[in-house]
Structures are given as structure tokens and as C-alpha cells.
Symmetry: C2
Subunit: 102 residues, 2 copies
DNA sequence: AGAATAAGATACTTATACGCATCATTGAAC
DNA sequence: GTTCAATGATGCGTATAAGTATCTTATTCT
């Protein structure tokens, strides 16, 4: 299991997909989110972890909201989003059971 | 509009509620999430912003998953979660239009 | 009253997210 | 082959997330 490193790339993938779907440049998203382009690039490529607040700002800039979903409800939420991802946005999930440790 | 400060407290409120619902101590959650107790406390009280990766770990420790939901789908997702928040978990949302800048 | 546990709070140090400036590479237009 | 736009990538300085240690307070149990 890939705890952080891959979860970051997972997030970055969603951000990039949403950005391209919105026809925005990295610079535009960075500006909307209130961060610099190099920083946004690092986040989108998964080479750096953004703060939760920064990720929220980026998500909003891309027309998304960050939510905490009970794991039991994740499948239902995914099902709700699936028939919708025509061309709009690809709400991601970070499905890593990663051995938190518990 | 209170951009970050309040969104943090919003998140913290959800974390605390989920933690109490799971009958876990701050130390247990911190340990599960791989951070120190003082740090978890700061996050839960909203006095500090965690990294996205840290928030994901905390969420998982509490039986939740972080998801990015298209804004258009947020109401539907909330509706899906509402009849469920009996005693389990209260999937939060950060509904702040906050004037990031855009 | 005293002991144990959970939580609030502080100080010091380290790791890193972020801004800013800069340069290289790619791809499209000329 | 030159110019412009978009992206990838560094280096330096600052802000802050996070670790560790310590102390206090509230609660519970004896």
C-alpha cells in the first residue's frame, strides 16, 4: 500500500483532469487558489503535499468541494457521481487502505 | 466571509464529532494518523491547518475518506448522507464561498 | 485527599509548504 | 529558426506544520 506519496499523485491527477476540463492553465488555477504557479505545479504533479486549506482553495477554483465521507457511504457517493462524469468533473477518492497502523 | 480560519474549525468540528462517535481519545487518533497528540489537538480545535495528506490519514483513522466533489453534486451528496447521521459520522462540507480571490 | 487518564496549552527545534525569481523544454504560430 | 504560451524544474528566504517535552486542569476512581 502506498500511504502518502501515491495519494498525492492521486489528488494531482484529479486536479489536472478538472483543470483541463475547465480549460484553465496552471497559472490561472494557481491564481484562483491564491498560490504560486510553481507551487500549484508541485501539487498537481504530486511532488508536494498542499495544506488542507490550500487544497480546498484549489478544489473550489476548479468547481469542486472537499468533503469527508464516512467510508460506508463512499460507494454510494461514487455511484451518485459516476453517471455524471460525462465531461464535467471526476470527483476522486483516495481509496488507499494504507496501513495507518491500526 | 472567513476563508481559511473558519474552514479549519469546520473540519475540526467534524473530526471531533467523529472521534467521540468512535469513542477514541485524541492520543489514539493522533497515533492512528501518525502525528503527535498536540498536533492533532491543534487540528481538531481548528487552530492549525493540517496538510492534505495528514488530513487524509486522520479521516481514515476516523472511518472517513476525503473526497473532491463537483460543486453541482454537493447537495445530492449531502442529501445522501443526511438520513444517515444518526449516531455514526457527520460528513462535513466546507461551504464557504470564501473570497479566495476569484 | 491522592492516583490515573484525557485534554488544553506552551516553548523549542526540525521539516516542509509557499512565494518569488529564474532558466530550460515543449508545442504552436509566424 | 525565431517568437510566444504553457509547463517542468531550481534555489533562496519566509511562514508554518509537526515532533518532543513539559506543565496545568478537569474528571474519574479509589
Amino acid at each position: 500500500m502506498q500511504s502518502q506519496p501515491d495519494a498525492l499523485q492521486d489528488i494531482g491527477r484529479v486536479l489536472k483532469q478538472a483543470r483541463l476540463a475547465s480549460a484553465l492553465t496552471q497559472e490561472q488555477v494557481a491564481d484562483l487558489a491564491g498560490i504560486s504557479r510553481p507551487r500549484y505545479r508541485d501539487i498537481e504533479t504530486g511532488s508536494a503535499a498542499a495544506r488542507a486549506s490550500t487544497l480546498m482553495n484549489i478544489a473550489r477554483a476548479l468547481g469542486m468541494e472537499m468533503m469527508l465521507i464516512p467510508q460506508a457511504m463512499v460507494p454510494a457517493v461514487e455511484a451518485l457521481l459516476r453517471p455524471h462524469d460525462d465531461d464535467d468533473l471526476p470527483a476522486f477518492v483516495s481509496h488507499a487502505e494504507d496501513g495507518d497502523d491500526g
